[in-house]
Point group: C2
Chain length 204, copies 2
DNA sequence: TAACCTACCAAACACTTGTTAGGGAAGGAT
DNA sequence: ATCCTTCCCTAACAAGTGTTTGGTAGGTTA
């Protein structure tokens, strides 16, 4: 026998899995996870509800795979940035740019993450969400603190407020961003960084 | 007979209604509307599921009342600001401050609004959500354009991107804000405005 | 040809959901 | 003492939920 697989799904082509997960992610993002029925996903994918269980253990495991795949890719990019040894301002710029690239690639997953991660974190299966969020906070807050110490960022701001500000401004973009909509991720990142770093008011 | 009331709920004290709506809003905000069962709300309020239908027509009408009450109060404040004839920068400052006050007063409703408004807007019953959103965009975008024309705001930014940026930075605060948590709404508004207007970077 | 594997369907299962109907206890008004 | 109003409970309903079981068409392999 080959290497032990999951219980239900004995054999399956990875391509078909990805297809189904993509449509599932789209529906989850549009309707919300709980409001989405397994039959709706099947409809959208062109098969019947029960047939999904040939590919996946459960509705929850679909969500799990969508989110963990996204987070893994995200941290690949983040870790590369954090390991590059850049200065605080350049690190922030690189993190923001990388974030918008991830939104471009995984906008459905990001939207789901934002809507559901809070109450999903309560389930032990999704414990990695809390881990990721802590690692995230450590990276961003640490960089901001480095920047304040190095004189790159203002000292008169509450640093935790600043952190939440920067974090939120980046990720809520997933709620309105549509790929191929005039602005490239890099272009959006540039404008966002310009606003966050220098403000929208005219200098005297 | 007294003035005609709704179908089911013949008589009821407005105070009790508000109590129940408050706990319902809290649960909706924490778990999401669809993930919240009517039994869970009843549990939290200390009565049984069926008893809620003495006070309300349906689960949906609870949500409706929560959101419309919030939006009515919000527009009371906004309209006052917009009618004051302030300059663009002062208008933005006043709108942001007012927004944080509303988050302070209706944080549960705001959280619900953010999570659910997108797909609720599809239902004709919640058509006022779309109306409100359009009015909202008109007010903010208009003020920003006025500011650009008057030389108060930068001209090199995409104005719609700026609008979404300012809008989102304000309202996502509802996801982490907790009343009585050190910062007053006015204090948070001051810091947010400082970041949005002048940026977080140190000036040369 | 026969055996096998992949990917699906058809039909049902147990359970949860929002909602309703009828009743009753407490208390004020008559 | 009787009635009425307010507020809740008990008990059930029908529809919709995620999931399972057994079967099967069509291609690949032996």
């Amino acid at each position: 026998m080959p290497t032990n697989k999951k219980k239900t799904q004995v054999t399956a082509s990875p391509e078909r899995r990805r297809e189904l997960l993509a449509t599932a992610a789209e529906v989850f993002a549009a309707q919300g996870y709980n409001a989405t029925t397994v039959r709706r996903i099947a409809d959208e994918a062109g098969l019947l509800a029960g047939s999904l269980y040939y590919h996946f253990d459960s509705k929850e495991s679909m969500l799990d795979e969508i989110l963990s795949t996204f987070l893994n890719e995200l941290w690949e990019g983040y870790d590369a940035v954090l390991a590059a040894g850049l200065g605080p301002r350049e690190t922030i710029e690189a993190l923001v740019t990388e974030s918008f690239r991830e939104i471009d690639r995984h906008r459905a997953a990001v939207a789901i993450y934002q809507k559901e991660s809070r109450h999903l974190a309560a389930l032990s299966r999704f414990g990695y969400l809390t881990e990721s969020q802590q690692k995230f906070e450590k990276a961003w807050l640490g960089t901001l603190e480095r920047g304040v110490a190095a004189g790159a960022f203002r000292t008169d701001l509450d640093i935790r407020l600043t952190y939440r500000f920067v974090r939120d401004t980046v990720w809520v973009a997933a709620s309105w961003y549509r790929p191929g909509g005039g602005h490239s991720p890099e272009e959006i990142a540039r404008q966002y960084l310009s606003m966050v770093l220098d403000g929208i008011a005219v200098r005297e």
